[in-house]
C-alpha cells in the first residue's frame, strides 16, 4: 500500500499487521495508534463520566459541606482545587517524561502523539495550580508570591511545559521535534523530586505536605474526604482530556495519510 509519508507516524497508521508482527514488541503490539483508536473510544466514557461525577461531588462537598479551618476559615476551601491541580501538574509531567522514555528508547509513535497532547493540558493545570496558590496566598500569607523553593520549582515546571510545547512543534520534520522534546521531558523530570521535597530540604513559606506516604495525614478526615474525591475527579478528567486529544491526533495523522495517498482520486501526486 503506497503511502506518501508526511511523518513517521503515518507509516504505522496504516495499521499494517505485518509491521506489528515484525517488531513483535510488547509496546507496539498493545499500543499501536490504530489499536489505540478502538481502545480509546471504548475507554473514553469510563473516564469522562466518572471524572465529572467525582469532581462535582468532591468540589461540592468541599465548597458547601466540609468544615471551615480553625485558622484559615473558609479560605481553606481553595485547597480542594489547588492540591489536585498541584498533584496533576507533577503527575502530568511524569507522564510526559514516560512518553519521552518510550519515544527515545522504543521509538514508540503513540508516545510522541501523546506527548504533543499532554503538554498543553499539563501547562494549563500547572497554571491553575500557580493561580489558585497565589489567590490562596494573598489572604493567608499576606502576599501573592514569594520566591521560596516550592513556588519557584513549580514555576520552573510551568516553563518546562511551555518549552516542551514549543520544542515539539519547532521542527519541519516532526520526528526531530519528538526527539528533542523527549530529551527535554526526561531532563526536566529532575524538577519533580525538587518540587516534592523542597518543603523538607529547605525552609520555605509554603507549609510541608499534609498528606505523606509515610506518616498519617495532618488533616481532619472531614476535609480529607472531599480532597480525595476531587483529586480522583481531576485525575480522571486529565486522563479523559488527554485520551480524547490523543484520539483526535491519531485521526488527524490518518487524515493526513489519506490525503497524501495516491489512491485518492485527484489527490496528491
Amino acid at each position: 500500500m503506497p503511502i506518501n509519508q508526511t511523518d513517521g507516524t503515518d507509516q504505522l497508521l496504516s495499521a499494517s499487521p505485518t509491521f506489528v508482527a515484525r517488531t513483535g514488541s510488547f509496546f507496539h503490539r498493545y499500543a499501536n495508534p490504530g489499536r489505540f483508536l478502538k481502545l480509546g473510544a471504548r475507554l473514553q466514557p469510563w473516564l469522562t463520566w466518572p471524572a465529572i461525577a467525582f469532581t462535582l461531588v468532591g468540589l461540592g462537598w468541599g465548597l458547601f459541606y466540609s468544615p471551615a479551618d480553625w485558622q484559615q476559615g473558609d479560605s481553606v476551601r481553595i485547597m480542594y482545587v489547588h492540591v489536585p491541580a498541584a498533584m496533576l501538574a507533577s503527575g502530568g509531567y511524569a507522564g510526559l517524561a514516560l512518553c519521552g522514555l518510550l519515544s527515545l528508547v522504543w521509538r514508540h509513535p503513540l508516545a510522541d502523539l501523546a506527548a504533543v497532547e499532554i503538554g498543553p493540558v499539563g501547562a494549563c493545570i500547572t497554571a491553575l495550580c500557580l493561580a489558585t496558590g497565589s489567590i490562596w496566598g494573598k489572604p493567608m500569607w499576606g502576599t501573592w508570591w514569594v520566591w521560596d523553593a516550592r513556588l519557584t520549582s513549580v514555576l520552573v515546571l510551568f516553563f518546562l511545559y511551555l518549552g516542551h510545547i514549543a520544542l515539539i512543534r519547532a521542527f519541519d520534520d516532526p520526528q526531530r521535534g519528538y526527539r528533542a522534546a523527549a530529551i527535554l521531558a526526561l531532563a526536566g523530570a529532575v524538577d519533580l523530586p525538587i518540587i516534592k521535597f523542597s518543603v523538607q530540604w529547605w525552609n520555605t513559606l509554603h507549609q510541608p505536605d499534609s498528606i505523606t506516604i509515610t506518616g498519617a495525614p495532618t488533616m481532619s478526615a472531614s476535609m480529607l474526604w472531599p480532597l480525595a474525591l476531587s483529586t480522583i475527579g481531576f485525575s480522571l478528567g486529565f486522563a479523559a482530556i488527554v485520551v480524547a486529544r490523543t484520539r483526535a491526533a491519531v485521526m488527524e495523522s490518518r487524515i493526513r495519510a489519506l490525503l497524501s495517498s495516491p489512491r485518492r482520486g485527484g489527490g496528491a501526486a
Binding site: 469532581t55 482545587v81 489572604p139 478528567g237 480524547a244 484520539r247
Partner: protein, 53 residues
C-alpha cells in the same frame, strides 16, 4: 465567608479551565471523526475503481 472573592475566583478559574479544555477536546474529536469518515468513504470508493494508467 470572609474571603469569598478569593474562593469564587479559584473555583471560577478551575471551572473555566475545565470547560475550555474539555469542550476543545470534544469539538476537535467530533470534527476529526466526521472528516475521517468522509475521507475514508471517498478513499474506499476510489479504491474500487481502477487507477488511471
Amino acid at each position: 465567608m470572609t474571603h469569598l472573592p478569593y474562593i469564587v475566583a479559584s473555583y471560577g478559574l478551575a471551572a473555566i479551565m475545565a470547560l475550555v479544555l474539555s469542550l476543545g477536546a470534544a469539538l476537535r474529536l467530533k470534527r476529526d471523526r466526521a472528516r475521517l469518515t468522509a475521507l475514508e468513504q471517498t478513499h474506499n470508493r476510489n479504491a474500487g475503481t481502477p487507477l488511471t494508467p
